[in-house]
Amino acid sequence: MTILLAVLLGTAFGFALEQAKASNPNKIINMLRLKDFHLMKVILFAIGFSSLLLFLLSSMNWIDIGHFSIKISYSGVIIGGAILGIGFAVGGYCPGTSIVAAGAGRKDALIFILGGLLGAVAYMLVFGIIKDSFLFNKMGGAISLVETNPLKYEALINNVSALFVAGIIAIVFMLIAFFLPSGNEN
């Protein structure tokens, strides 16, 4: 059953990313060059829309709060993000979109994946050396802005309804998506 779900959801995710043009490196690079906001609008709207429904449905107990999974905040999150950003800008792919783009027949995506597999091996080899370094200094641990799963995670904002705060954030994201200028056909 879980395997069937994996096939259906994975296919849907790949389909959605390709339809949204997120697997087109031209769109990614021109977004990062601040020339074409199409993908920025897609991403902001997707985050806002899914977040609003997520908090709405979980406040009605339709979504199991056990499904929330808040990752730990530590200094390596920012530094790792910055390293990823370099490759993201030059290649125009992130891990997910490279896989989808390879499925859509892009050859540079295949090379990107090979580079990625080597990068992941390199990380596996150095992890033992860096695991006690400043890179893993905690910055609050597994923490979210609003209360998600009180048994597992801490929240920064405690005394206000999670749906209210998350809802405002979500609506702001969607509004920015609406008002950013549309993309040109490149």
């Binding site: 849907a12 390709e18 949204a20 697997s23 199409h38 990823l84 993201f88 997910g96 896989i99 990625g116």
Partner: protein, 217 residues
């Protein structure tokens, strides 16, 4: 006055967007709205995934593929500890992390996370078949923005893309997630880590993209 104006205009505008979205004849409006279609589609997938299983993540599976290949050459990489906790362990410190979570994924690759990522290839393939506008042959190696700057030399593109892939996955593993897991899944749950990650990514990606692809005078 201004407040009232916005209150009236915004729902109207959203309503108009949805009308145009459903009416396929207005192709001019449709072009404008492709971002909304993409955003809705992606948002629904992210929501469905967390509702039915767990938040979407991708970059971990690169480690699993590496581990599966590594295991072919080194039988000692993953140990199966019968009736013991943790059930799987590894000689590699990273694969051994979190009670051998990755070691277990490598030993049993037919699991949700791995099949999900493999299925994304199928999704990309199907979408490209369904799209009326086919990807041009030369775009399949170097995107236009690359050709405008560096010409048709595809080898250069492939070398740079390889290095880019290396940096992206190394960075993603250090950060503990990528654009899907940290940025999209993280920020939708209001995870602080998602915001930290996004800050790090755009702090380098935006200036580097602007400088690296600056058109020649």
């Amino acid at each position: 006055m201004l407040k009232n104006g916005i209150q009236i205009i915004m729902p109207l505008r959203i309503f108009l967007y949805f009308c145009a979205f459903q009416n396929n004849k207005t192709s001019e409006m449709n072009k404008d709205l492709s971002w909304l279609k993409g955003g809705l589609l992606l948002g629904i997938v992210f929501l469905t995934a967390i509702w039915m299983v767990k938040p979407i993540g991708v970059s971990t599976q690169f480690v699993i593929v590496d581990g599966i290949v590594w295991k072919i050459f080194s039988k000692e990489l993953i140990q199966h500890n019968q009736n013991a906790e943790p059930e799987y362990s590894s000689t590699n410190a990273y694969l051994n992390k979190n009670n051998g979570k990755y070691a277990s994924g490598i030993a049993n690759p037919v699991n949700y996370g791995f099949i999900f990522v493999l299925s994304m290839i199928l999704g990309g393939f199907l979408s490209s078949r369904f799209s009326k506008k086919k990807i041009q042959q030369k775009d399949k190696i170097s995107p236009k923005v690359w050709r405008d700057k560096f010409g048709e030399n595809h080898n250069k593109r492939l070398v740079y893309t390889f290095v880019a892939g290396f940096l992206v996955l190394f960075g993603a593993r250090l950060a503990g997630g990528c654009t899907s897991g940290h940025m999209m899944s993280g920020m939708m749950q209001t995870s602080v880590s998602g915001y930290l990650f996004a800050t790090g990514v755009f702090a380098t990606a935006i200036p580097i993209a602007i400088i690296f692809f600056k058109p020649k005078k």
